[in-house]
Amino acid sequence: MHIKSVELSHFKSFGGTTKIPLLPRFTVVSGPNGSGKSNILDALLFALGLSGSRGMRAERLPDLVNQNHSSRRGTSEANVTVVFDIEDIPTEFLTDSDIAEDGADNGEDSGESASSEVGEDSSAEGALNGTGSAGDSPTNVVPLPSSSKEWSVTRRLRVTSQGTYTSNYYINGESCTMGQLHEQLQRFRIYPEGYNVVLQGDVTSIISMNPRERREIIDELA
């Protein structure tokens, strides 16, 4: 399984809509200071709900909308879509709501009405750790042909001119709660506290962290 593409619309320094294709194995992202490299990683954290706004260097979510874009309109919006290639995932890991065959609509709604994060300040981020997981049963598995399987996550942030905002998640185009998204990501071994994303300046934090916290990393995996 790997990320196939990241599409950013009006997100941080990405003014229009940019789709970045990604391949398996080893990719380097490089370029001058301030060009937007770290912002691409912030986009992954944003779309997959893996971090609060501070972890994306924003004081509050509205700071994530491209400033040029938001200054010209009443309500502005930032979107990020991450598409995973899941061809090599054994079917028992997937529910039928996981499997979108290149955009085909898969019927069953993978969640109730989106639990939107609505807020005027970043205290809404306290809701980060999941808002319930009703509705998705991991035993609801339908074997599917193994051609070109994709799994996509989209997050849309809308900000009004007064500064209030809503944030919504979608799996394969169907709205879902952040909790449901996290539950499915967990089955793919992607966790908010996972050490698979190391942000700029953080590499030595594992050294300076408290030993109990470090032991809890192993608890999580066990």
Binding site: T18, F26, Q200, V203, R215
Partner: protein, 156 residues
């Protein structure tokens, strides 16, 4: 619960020892404060680079701390791989020789998982399967250019 932890700990420890030896050419291992009751204490990283006696973690150099931390992350990866890893300038403290060692290790680990690594360092760029270039014209938006992507994706 204790048994699940112990199994995870032993596996990660074994990985850590071999990865640390390869990355920093030294000896390192994981140590529990309380091996009888792990949940009663924390987890320590014991590391001594090449032939030096065991040092406190705090007194290690910037480069040594980076390699130790990365060895731990790779040890976790070999036990429970995530589908992708995203590293932002984790090589910032490393000297040229260590950037090469790290790049080689990432290339090896990338057989099992996708690695997206932000880096300014030449040995890292040269070891990658491809580079994505990011630029920002004066006052304008970020632009992304694929460099060395496979031919059908050479331009965005």
């Amino acid at each position: 619960r204790f048994r699940a932890f112990q199994e995870a700990f032993d596996a990660v420890n074994k990985n850590f020892q071999s990865i640390f030896a390869e990355l920093s050419d030294g000896d390192g291992y994981l140590q529990l404060d309380d091996p009888q009751d792990p949940f009663n204490g924390g987890l320590n990283l014991v590391a001594h680079p090449k032939g030096k006696p065991v040092r406190r973690l705090a007194s290690m150099s910037g480069g040594e701390k980076s390699l130790t931390a990365l060895s731990f992350i790779f040890a976790l990866q070999r036990y429970r791989p995530s589908p992708f890893y995203a590293f932002d300038e984790v090589d910032m403290f490393l000297d040229g020789a260590n950037v090469e060692r790290l790049a080689r290790m990432i290339k090896h680990q990338a057989q099992q998982a996708q690695f997206i690594v932000v880096s300014l360092r030449r040995p890292m760029i040269e070891s990658a399967d491809r580079t994505i270039g990011v630029t920002q014209a004066r006052g304008a938006y970020t632009q992304v250019l694929g460099i060395d992507l496979q031919p059908k994706r050479a331009s965005l």
